[in-house]
Symmetry: C2
Subunit: 251 residues, 2 copies
DNA sequence: GAGTGGTCTAGACCACGTG
DNA sequence: ACGTGGTCTAGACCACTCC
């Protein structure tokens, strides 16, 4: 791809109401994903790129920033900006079971085991950061992929946020989205252990079998805990992919 | 903490050669970690803060940016910037086994099983992105915590980067650091399974026992794969904590 | 020395939430 | 209506690499 073609392709549209840095960044991401720019290729200097596509250098830097963070570009002071190559998709992205399964090419499903409002347990109160006397809604179901049992999942959410069991259909997250309760980050603790007998039955497993246990706490933008989910996955069918980064500050 | 005290505490030192936005960001992080600012507290408006500590608003925004990304601050357009509260430490941070164990309060150790240069296997060649005929260095050892076996780990690195087994003492990463081979990100795949018999012996486990399998590929800044490590942890002693975020782009 | 990314400034306009 | 964060500009200086 010639520099001229790159300038044309990256020039933002005045009709698009998206921020300039997002337009430029998204287009560049697409170009690299398409293979038109390969690993090791040098980007034009920030100043030249800014001039040619009619934005300021600060805007270019902000557009680059996200791609550098994602490992798609790398920058070297005094040298330049270079393409690192396509990135494999599986980020550590917070997604629902349904999204996760669809991304893996399975059709997600659920079998409800329990769905009601009740008194919280001490563990749950601690994890949710609520009073031990508070009430919570507990949602327990078998999660399936292409009809095959994949995990047993128990989600617990403070009744303060959600207190109508009937409002929850197959997608817990859809209800949360409706109510503007969108988690922005989550912590997951991942363990491995042997399956209990009743789990083995629910998941159609022999004994002994290994279980991948995932405990997730998801957080609202202001830092409060929205919900806690305990999931037990069939280890023979599921793996978990995480992306790690080096601690931000050099030295 | 009064606004006046905050302004004083955040005013960067002219003698410090660190970038202003890092000085401000680090100080603010410390202040919040110390508890002087609590969850829900409002930060002064960006413009006022910039004025009072003598930097530009852009610099304040860049200082805030990192803390917002870390979930320590949250920003709402039209409303303000607020403290989200202290963050639990366990980020998804790329760290060596030794760092990981020390962070958990254990004293790390190693027992070498194998350390030599050899022909690569097809799987390894694929994972490392090198020719199937290339040579690699393979490092296999038992990892211990307080003297107790914790994991069996096999690290594989292209002989192009490292080809002297004797150069590797107890810290693989220390050697890499010496040679300026610093990974910036890594992908981990985490699985659970039953222990093999020989593993159970090495790790002092009964059979059947569960194993937490972690495969890590770490990447250099330019996107090349530096090394691949296969680790099998005792599930009864180890868990893995990951942090997830929502996909960056809204909608 | 020329060119690069890294940092920083002092403005500006916008969309939006809050009082 | 006002103040907030979100975006954007057109400059500037620095430290570093080598196009």
């Amino acid at each position: 791809m010639t520099p001229e073609q790159l300038f044309t392709a990256l020039t933002p549209s005045p009709h698009d109401r998206k921020p300039l840095y997002l337009q430029v960044g998204d287009r560049l991401r697409d170009i690299i994903a398409s293979g038109a720019l390969k690993r090791g290729d040098a980007m034009p200097p920030e100043r030249e790129l800014a001039d040619r596509i009619g934005v300021s250098r600060v805007t270019i830097r902000k557009a680059f920033e996200e791609l550098v963070g994602a490992g798609i570009l790398s920058q070297k002071p005094g040298a330049g900006t270079f393409v690192s190559g396509q990135i494999e998709q599986p980020f550590s992205i917070l997604q629902s079971f349904s999204e996760d399964m669809r991304a893996r090419g399975y059709e997600p499903g659920s079998i409800w085991l329990d769905k009601h409002v009740t008194r919280t347990s001490p563990d749950e109160a601690m994890a949710l950061g609520i009073a031990p006397t508070a009430r919570v809604m507990r949602l327990k179901r078998i999660r399936t992929a292409n009809g095959q049992p994949m995990a047993v999942e128990t989600a617990v959410i403070s009744a303060h946020y959600l207190d109508d069991p009937d409002s929850v259909g197959n997608s817990f997250y859809a209800v949360l989205r409706q109510r503007d309760l969108l988690p922005v980050r989550a912590l997951q603790r991942i363990r491995s252990r042997l399956a209990f007998v009743h789990e083995a039955e629910l998941l159609h497993l022999d004994t002994p079998s290994a279980i991948l246990d995932i405990e997730r706490r998801s957080f609202l933008p202001d830092g409060r805990v929205l919900e806690v989910t305990f999931s037990s996955y069939r280890a023979d069918l599921y793996d978990f992919v995480a992306e790690l980064r080096t601690a931000g500050i050099p030295e």
